[in-house]
Every structure is written in structure tokens, then in C-alpha cells.
């Protein structure tokens, strides 16, 4: 198979997977999902590390370091803020269980 076709195959399949995995999300989770997906594209940090680490041009090095800072803010900040939001959802989910009189409450 042609190299470009391999990449195209991966791309198309990923499109379908991307749509499929989130197709049943409830509107309650739209904000954290958006924020989490936002953090995932912070993986551009990996690309920034590679291009910066393989250059010997001073200007390129500086630009690369800026890209690394920006990408790291995106990636790390994104995951942390998503976790902060989701933490509150978890607490809210626990509360009715703890208040309930069923066995699940006692088990907690």
C-alpha cells in the first residue's frame, strides 16, 4: 500500500471512532468532554519536543521553546481543569447514594 494511503486509512478510521465513542454523551457532560478533548490535542507538545530537539538553528530553537511552553499549558492545564470539574460530579453522584437507605449507601 502507498504510504499516503496508509495515513489516509488511519485518518478516516479515526474520524469514525471519534464520532462513535462520544455519540451517546449526555448534555450534562458537554463541558467536561469539550475540556477533556481540548487537553488531548495538547499532545502537540510531543511534536514541539521533536522539532525543537532536532534543530540547530537558534531562531528555530527559540520558536520551538515557545511552542513547547504553549503546548504544555494546553495539555497539562486541560487535564487538570477537566479533573477539577469531574471531581465535583463524582461528589454529587455519591451524595444521593450516601443519603439513600439502600445497601449501596451502607457499603460506602
Amino acid at each position: 500500500m502507498n504510504d499516503a494511503v496508509v495515513w489516509l486509512t488511519i485518518f478516516i478510521l479515526s474520524v469514525f471512532v471519534g464520532i462513535e465513542v462520544i455519540s451517546k454523551v449526555s448534555s450534562t457532560l458537554h463541558t467536561p468532554l469539550m475540556s477533556g478533548a481540548n487537553a488531548i490535542h495538547g499532545i502537540i507538545l510531543l511534536g514541539a519536543i521533536i522539532v525543537t530537539g532536532t534543530t540547530d538553528n537558534t531562531v528555530a530553537l527559540v520558536v520551538g521553546l515557545v511552542a513547547i511552553v504553549l503546548a504544555a499549558v494546553n495539555m497539562v492545564g486541560g487535564f487538570v481543569v477537566t479533573d477539577r470539574m469531574l471531581q465535583m460530579f463524582v461528589r454529587r453522584k455519591k451524595k444521593p447514594v450516601a443519603a439513600g437507605s439502600d445497601g449501596a449507601g451502607a457499603a460506602r
Partner: protein, 470 residues
């Protein structure tokens, strides 16, 4: 191009799978937190990989101390921002994180172009499709960066949240697209650094033009769309860098982000095209954004307390104003007291309550409001006609009947909560200033509507005491 060892490729594959699992997890309430952590772990592992192999015939990665330093700076910045941000400011934060990601992708593509230009100068044959992908990343990454900055400014109210239009905007738009296509073609035929830089500048300008005409209430949809854009740029960057994990992660975000954007637009009863370009066609100029001086019926907390205390069925409509005033906790107390008195109380959550779809759920979760009291719009809309009192706290656009009755209003067509069907409507408002969409709300002037002016937290406290005293 970089030769990546097999073990590293396999690690990348595992990380790509983890990103799929992360998104899957994030779409269910029970698995969301685990999903996010899986994603974070995969991202860290993937980023560690290049430190352990020999890229491009080099002995090892160069400039490692500087790279690590930059990572530390970015990490500290990200963590501090993420921890300090108020839940009310979440949409701005997501916009900002998205913008820096898009900016980073554009810079990476410019650096890669620099490499490719160097290779071409030495007589190497550079694949035109790689150059097209590079051009795409430079342009769309810049659009995403500039667009996100404007989005941030609108939400943070550093600038007007009303649609900004000016003559020639549509023309500038067309010119931007033509320029982008032309420059990309030029780049593919004859790679040169200046073309890439001009392309980035055009992208920045295009990003501004794209978001300026979007009204404040629609901005969250734009955040979601720009998020998808950034995902696609990362995917294209992955192709350019021969890196499968970038390709898969970027494509996942691009595809799911686009889908999510469509879902949200549907919840607002709008098409994405209408949200982006509606203002260009004119018609949404209805939002003057000024306070009205038409007569309304206002009351003091004691009057409202009596109304609430003797109601059997109460529905609360919380809005962004509630969260800004940090009155969620007092509201929850009030609801507890009313429930103890035997009233049946629920919260009606509009899908776009707050400033982003699902935002209000996050805000009330923060105040530990029990899950089962939160009712989604479709679930509760039939109940309004039986409600004795609807208490609207800091919300406006989501109960504005103009969405049904006034074609041409910026929110026309958005499904709304049928608060107007209730026997009594109480608005808690700071002033007569219109909502985020910038249009007047007819419901305020209805006969069965009462207004309780004041800061939501202050009024809510007085209301709570008054109810307790009865």
C-alpha cells in the same frame, strides 16, 4: 524523515488507544474521571518517548535541558491557571487552552517548514502533500489561536459581547479564503519560509474575522468548533512529522469536536452556519443591549417569600447570574427549606444554561445540589403549566419568549424553558439590563411576573430568612 524505532511506534500505538478510551470514558458520568486520567497518563508517556531514542541520526535529542525547562514553565502555568480559575470562568479557560494549543501547532508546522525548505534547498524531493498538510496546520492553527483569543476577550468581557460587524467583512472573509488557498498552493509548488509566515498572518486575521461577528450567547459553540479545528491541525501535524499518535489523537478530537459542535447547535435550535455567519446577513441587530425603562412590577423579599412558602410546586430556573453572585449555596438552602415545608421543588436546567452547554450542571454540582433535583429541559417543560411559582435566578435568554415569537431575534429558534406558562413568575435580577444575547425579555413585563431586584446572593439571603420566619 525521522526514523522512529519499532518499540517507540508501539508505545505510540498504545497511547493512541488510550486516547480513544479517554474520550469514551469522558462521555459517561461514571467513567468520566477515569477517562480523563487515562488520557493524561497516555499524553505524558507519549511525550516522554522522544527522550529515549535517537532521532534523525542524532546521538540523542538536542537541547534537552532547555526543552525540560520550557515544559516545566508551561506545566506550572497550566496547573496554576487550571486550579485558580473559577467554575464560572470555565468557558474562557477552555478557549484559552485551546488557543495556545492551536498556536503551538502553527509554530511546530512553521519549524517543520523550515526543515523542509532546508531539505529542498539541498536538492531533496519534498512531497507536495506534506507541504499541503504543513500549510493547513500553519493556517488553521493560526485561525484557532486568534479566534480563541477573541472568544476569550468576549467571555471575559474585555470587549463587547455583541456581534461586531463592519462593511466589507464578508469581502475580507472571501479574500482570506482565496489568499489561504493561493498561498498554500504556492507553498506546495515552491516551499519558502516567507510564504509560511504570510500564511500564518492571514490565518490570524481570518480568525479575528471569523469570531468578531458571533454574538456572546453563541460564543461557546465557536469554542467547540475551534477546538475541533485545533484537533485537525494536530492531526495534519502528525502526518507531517510522521507521528501516528498525533494523527490519531488530533483526528479523534477533530471528529468528536465537530460532532459535539453539531449537538450543541441543535440544542440551541440553530445551524452552525447560522451561528457563524448569521450576523453577516444582518437581522440580529435587535440586541441594542440597553436597559429598558418600561414599567415592571417589583416586590420585596417578604412578598416573594410568602408566594414561595405557600406554593405546592416550585421550579427554579438558574442562570449564569446565579453563579456570578456565588448564590448557589444559599439557593440550595432555600430549596431545602421549601422542600421541608412540603413543596415539590426542582431545578430546570436549560442545555445551554450558564455560558457553555453543560456549564450549569458543573456550577450546581459545585454547590452540592442533589443530582435528582436537576431536570433537563425536555423532562420538565411539560411541568411549567402546573407550577405555582417559577423562580428565575440570574437567567434571562433561556426563558425569553422571543425565541418563539420574534423571527430575527438572535435567539430565535432556540428551544426555551416554558416559564411563561407558570401561574407566577419571579425574576431575581440585578438590573433591567438584557441577557447575554442582548435582547429585551417580554416575560419581564407580563402581568403575572414579579421582579426582585438586587444582587442575587444578597436577595437570596433575605428571601431565605423571610421564608424561615414564616
Amino acid at each position: 524523515m525521522t526514523v522512529i524505532p519499532t518499540w517507540a511506534q508501539l508505545v505510540y500505538l498504545a497511547c493512541a488507544v488510550c486516547f480513544i478510551l479517554a474520550l469514551k470514558g469522558l462521555s459517561g458520568p461514571k467513567t468520566a474521571r477515569a477517562g480523563n486520567l487515562i488520557g493524561a497518563a497516555a499524553a505524558v508517556v507519549a511525550c516522554a518517548v522522544p527522550f529515549f531514542y535517537k532521532p534523525d541520526g542524532l546521538e540523542h535529542l538536542h537541547h534537552v535541558p532547555l526543552i525540560l525547562g520550557a515544559i516545566v514553565i508551561g506545566t506550572v502555568g497550566g496547573v496554576v491557571g487550571a486550579r485558580r480559575v473559577q467554575m464560572t470562568q470555565m468557558p474562557q479557560m477552555v478557549a484559552l487552552f485551546n488557543g495556545v494549543g492551536g498556536g503551538a501547532a502553527a509554530l511546530v508546522a512553521l519549524l517543520e517548514l523550515h526543515e523542509l525548505v532546508g531539505a529542498a534547498d539541498l536538492g531533496a524531493d519534498v512531497d507536495w502533500f506534506v507541504l499541503v498538510a504543513t500549510a493547513f496546520t500553519i493556517f488553521v492553527g493560526s485561525v484557532s489561536f486568534a479566534g480563541s483569543v477573541v472568544t476569550f476577550a468576549k467571555l471575559q468581557e474585555l470587549m463587547t459581547s455583541a456581534p461586531v460587524t463592519f462593511p466589507g467583512l464578508a469581502l475580507g472573509f472571501g479574500a482570506g479564503i482565496v489568499a489561504a488557498v493561493g498561498l498554500s498552493t504556492q507553498l506546495a509548488l515552491d516551499p519558502a519560509m516567507w510564504v509560511g509566515i504570510v500564511l500564518a498572518v492571514v490565518g490570524l486575521a481570518f480568525g479575528l474575522l471569523l469570531v468578531l461577528p458571533v454574538g456572546g450567547a453563541d460564543v461557546p459553540i465557536v469554542i467547540s468548533l475551534l477546538n475541533a479545528f485545533t484537533g485537525l491541525t494536530v492531526a495534519a501535524g502528525g502526518y507531517v512529522l510522521d507521528n501516528v499518535v498525533l494523527l490519531v489523537a488530533g483526528t479523534l478530537v477533530g471528529a468528536s469536536g465537530t460532532f459535539l459542535t453539531l449537538l450543541m447547535a441543535k440544542a440551541m435550535g440553530r445551524s452552525v452556519a447560522n451561528i457563524l455567519f448569521g450576523a453577516l446577513k444582518g437581522g440580529s441587530t435587535l440586541g441594542a443591549g440597553v436597559a429598558s425603562d418600561r414599567p415592571v412590577k417589583s416586590a420585596n423579599p417578604e412578598d416573594v417569600a410568602i408566594m414561595l412558602a405557600y406554593a405546592d410546586r416550585v421550579i427554579i430556573v438558574p442562570g449564569y447570574g446565579l453563579a456570578v453572585a456565588q448564590a448557589q449555596h444559599t439557593l440550595r438552602e432555600l430549596v431545602d427549606v421549601l422542600s421541608e415545608r412540603g413543596a415539590d421543588v426542582d431545578y430546570a436546567i436549560h442545555p445551554v444554561a450558564g455560558r457553555m452547554p453543560g456549564h450549569m450542571n458543573v456550577l450546581l454540582a459545585e454547590a452540592q445540589v442533589p443530582y435528582e433535583q436537576l431536570k433537563e429541559m425536555d423532562e420538565i417543560n411539560g411541568d411549567f403549566k402546573d407550577a405555582d411559582v417559577v423562580l428565575i435566578v440570574g437567567a434571562n435568554d433561556v426563558v425569553n419568549p422571543a425565541a418563539k415569537t420574534t423571527p430575527g431575534a438572535p435567539i430565535y429558534g432556540m428551544p426555551i424553558l416554558n416559564a411563561d406558562e407558570a401561574k407566577q413568575v419571579v425574576f431575581m435580577k440585578r438590573s433591567m439590563r438584557p441577557g447575554f444575547a442582548g435582547i429585551e425579555n417580554e416575560l419581564l413585563f407580563e402581568e403575572n411576573t414579579t421582579l426582585l431586584f438586587g444582587d442575587a446572593k444578597d436577595s437570596m439571603g433575605k428571601l431565605l430568612n423571610a421564608v424561615k420566619a414564616l
